[in-house]
Symmetry: C2
């Protein structure tokens, strides 16, 4: 028997398609036997590094983008609300996730995603973030090594070919977007 | 019984994801009972109208884009070859398609798509185009009313919200991208 595959899931809570994918990766893991590593990174840093812009930046795309997000949420059967506070600066919440032991990241990230993309609660607001993660975890976000770790994960993703979020790797194979999860699943099955 | 739905398929032969979608729409039609209207338009005109750029314009995306195209082709079981002559100016071939009776468009477009995206034959080359469509059909491309019809279809797509290709409509509902055909299929089932 070969080792089960690992799926790396690079995400930023500011990214709505990362939220949608985040609701699916554990089911995909259960179906394939592949482990999922939740890897917080900074989408803004990726965009700056490669000269990309978010899809919402194209005005003509905005009405469609909203419809598409709600279609995916309905397709998955997950709650979705495009928040009044979009876009947020996700730097502090993403640092807080980067400061956690890896085993705690999925549940913590899910709480931030749900707040942002279903509950109209802004995780870049310090009070909301503290309520979601607890004061001790939020305090970790300001540690120098945590800031460096988040930068390093972002740089690693760019080095490996990322240009947006969510981005998945199965070994060296990269997949971009919630709409490529079927290819991720096929790769995870090997 | 209500009328069967119609799927409008706006495409440009210069667009590789339009090619991929073109290999699937007739099967989708057979499964749903919905008719497909193949609607040639000019992707370059859409891009100019809305200020969009093709995904290949982002250098950091190019290696992934190629992989993604070959993955979709393998997934569909259709031939694919990223041509050495990319990108082409599709104006004349798209005019030739716009000049055809609607019932002849699917087979003619399929021949141009296959040439461009599987057979390393450039349909913007006059000799290739004549070989593929016949001299009489190519001659129609230079008629003033045909040029106007292609512009009008492009303008119509932009008015209805299009910003790229392929774009589908089921009634007023718009869908963008080969990777949204599952949503098109659900809408076509009503």
């Amino acid at each position: 028997m070969s080792q089960p595959n690992t799926i790396e899931f690079f995400f930023d809570i500011a990214s709505p398609y990362s939220y949608l994918a985040s609701t699916q990766v554990e089911g995909l893991s259960a179906r394939t036997g592949a482990a999922v590593r939740w890897r917080p990174f900074l989408l803004g840093g990726v965009f700056r590094a490669v000269g990309n812009t978010p899809p919402v930046a194209l005005a003509a795309r905005q009405p469609y983008l909203l419809k598409d997000l709600y279609r995916w949420a309905a397709h998955y059967g997950v709650p979705f609300n495009f928040p009044s506070f979009f876009p947020v600066n996700s730097l502090v919440p993403m640092r807080a996730l980067a400061g956690l032991p890896e085993a705690e990241v999925p549940a913590a990230a899910a709480a931030l995603f749900r707040a942002h993309w279903a509950e109209e609660r802004d995780p870049s607001d310090a009070a909301v973030l503290t309520d979601l993660l607890g004061a001790e975890r939020v305090a970790l976000a300001s540690a120098g090594e945590v800031k460096a770790a988040l930068r390093e994960t972002t740089d690693e993703a760019v080095r490996r070919g990322a240009f947006g979020a969510p981005t998945f790797f199965v070994g060296d194979e990269m997949f971009f977007g919630n709409d490529r999860l079927h290819f991720v699943e096929a790769a995870a099955r090997g």
